[in-house]
Amino acid sequence: MPTTRCPIRVLLLEDNSADAALLRALLAESPGASSITLHVERRLSDGISRLQESRFDVVLLDLGLPDSQGMETLRQLKAQIHGIAIVVLTGLADEAIGLEAVHRGAQDFLVKGEVDARVLIRIIRYAIERQQAQRSLQESQDRLALAIDVADLRTWDWDLQTGKVVGSYCPTGDAATSRLDRVTDFSSFFSYVHTDDREENNKKIADAMENQRDYQNEMRIVWPDGTTRWVQVKGRFFYNGHRKPIRMIGALVDLTEHKRAEEAMKRHADEVMHLARVSLMGQMASGLAHELNQPLGAIVNYASVVLMQLEAGKAPAPITMQAIQEVIKETRRAGSIISRLRSFVSKQDPRRGMTSVRQLLEETLHLLAFELRHQQIRPAVNLADDLPLVLADAIQIEQVLINLIYNALEAMDGANSPVRNLSVEAGIDPENTTHAFISVIDSGPGVEPEHMRKLFDAFFTTKKTGLGMGLNICRTIVESHGGRLTARRNPTGGMCFTLTLPFKEVGDP
């Protein structure tokens, strides 16, 4: 240990010269005496001055000095000189005083005349060691306290055997979370958890306890005055020899402001996505109007058939009935085009749910029916069998797919190429089997290699008209679903855009 090699500087505060001489003699004959230097002061004030001037490792303190007596001597020394190891010297009958001194911050005490050189040097060394250990513990506690303060954390220590909880005291904390400090047992803490979050929280605690994992949760806490706060909690269990949890320490951070900002951001992002969708619908409007003309045209035809029958004075025949049934069917079809359009532009809150990829593709191709017909493209749809449902907001993913297919159609239209193939493929992502992939592949001229890296950047566009926000928003949408949107050039020409979507909530076990 470094302390054994470095010279030990000892300051002896002792007004009795005989006692001082005795100690000096003892030190001189102790092992390693050559590395010990001893200074003696008779008065406390002189000792303090000495300690302020130069560095000492330990003070041997006689409590009875000319300028100070008893515990007051220790108190004064400690008050003026921080962090020095103190060993109190006591008389024969004063063991009780020695113990009191230790209680008040002395590292040790020794009874004058009862120590030999070996014991003395051991007491001195241990005192120094303990002092250093104490100091580093104090420093790490200071650092922890600072960190807790800066991070605005609350900590707790839950004794599972007694049910008692000790919360951290944080004077700078806001009113809501500092209430935690008043919580003294865990069941009352849990009574503050928002009723909607309680079941999940209990599950998470039980799960952590059982699987010896850290407990972690984000939940709402409702205080008796009705204020709701979002908190993030993390706890760790300690177990006894029988793997029975006996203690849990944890920290809690108030996420309310963070959540609010997050929600504002999300609302903002949803707004942008919605605007992009409205603008996309603007591009598709005339096409959709034409699309609506298909069932309307069919309805006219069927109605004319009925009219012809009536004009000819014929009795209702199977063909009349059938025509009327077809009118109903086609009217429904027209209705579904309109409702598809409405839900696409409506400003509803994004809703994630288990969604069929096949249905996503069908809806998308329905919305793009006119564009496909107009460009005389029949997309090859290649869908893996038994593809599980994905967790997605159907409208937002349709928005992405429409963007991708629109881009593909545009690319091939400009190319004027004789081969205009569009294919859509979907299956389980081979690179990440917790996700499905959907690829949109065209046979257009492809993106210039030098543009590939900027493809998803905001305001990057190679089109004459266009803001350059389409792919950027698409990527935002896909990533907000926990998926990825990537682009690559096909070896045979054209582009392949692939998006992935999780089969379940990302982060779920």
Binding site: Q294, G297, M308
Partner: protein
């Protein structure tokens, strides 16, 4: 020969396709539907009696291309193109491909039926001409070399006397050959013979 002409409906919108078929059936016309240009072309047979009602814009092969492929196979079957919007270029391309009608959606059903009936008549007429052509060619093929030479001189408007000089035979022989020629070709007179020659392509039609 199937005598009832058929309306071939090609539209990739199933509702449109089915409703047009019913319209045709209500008008007591025979109809057949195809969901794509490809399906129609796959089923194609030469010289059928009827007309095509063709959607301009379809996924895959579009209306104009279907027409081009028909014409490339010398099928002159009349075509009615229906479309949500017809631009001038498309209209011109269509017209250049011949025997065409263009109906813009939305159209009156009765209007379509009238157009279809007209086109079916056209088809029957075409068919009649085609039959006659085959007939005439067959008759022409039965002519001897001498009779064929005589034919060219007759339709050129030469008299028997002039022909006799031209061919170096007697007027009587010319008259005999001429009688045979008229009998073999079933021509009523020299003018009828000329008409047949034009149809058969023996004579350019500006003569």
């Amino acid at each position: 020969m199937n005598t009832q002409p058929t309306v071939y409906i090609v539209d990739d919108d199933p509702g449109m396709c089915a409703s047009l078929r019913m319209v045709m059936e209500a008008a007591e016309l025979k109809a057949q539907t195809y969901g794509s240009g490809e399906d129609f072309l796959d089923d194609w047979k030469a010289n059928r009696l009827g007309c095509v009602v063709l959607d301009l814009r379809m996924r895959g092969i579009g209306g104009i291309e279907v027409m081009q492929r028909l014409r490339a196979q010398n099928d002159e079957m009349p075509v009615i193109i229906i479309s949500g919007h017809v631009d001038v270029v498309t209209a011109v391309r269509g017209v250049k491909l011949g025997a065409i009608d263009i109906l813009q959606k939305p159209f009156r059903t009765s209007e379509l039926v009238a157009h279809v009936r007209h086109m079916l008549e056209l088809s029957i007429e075409q068919h009649g001409r085609r039959e006659e052509l085959i007939d005439i060619r067959e008759r022409m093929n039965r002519l001897t070399a001498r009779e064929a030479d005589l034919l060219r001189l007759v339709v050129a408007g030469l008299s028997n006397k002039q022909i006799a000089v031209e061919m170096g035979i007697s007027i009587k022989t010319v008259a005999n050959h001429r009688a045979n020629l008229m009998e073999k070709t079933h021509a009523l007179n020299a003018a009828d013979l000329a008409r047949m020659s034009v149809i058969a392509g023996i004579l350019p039609d500006h003569v």
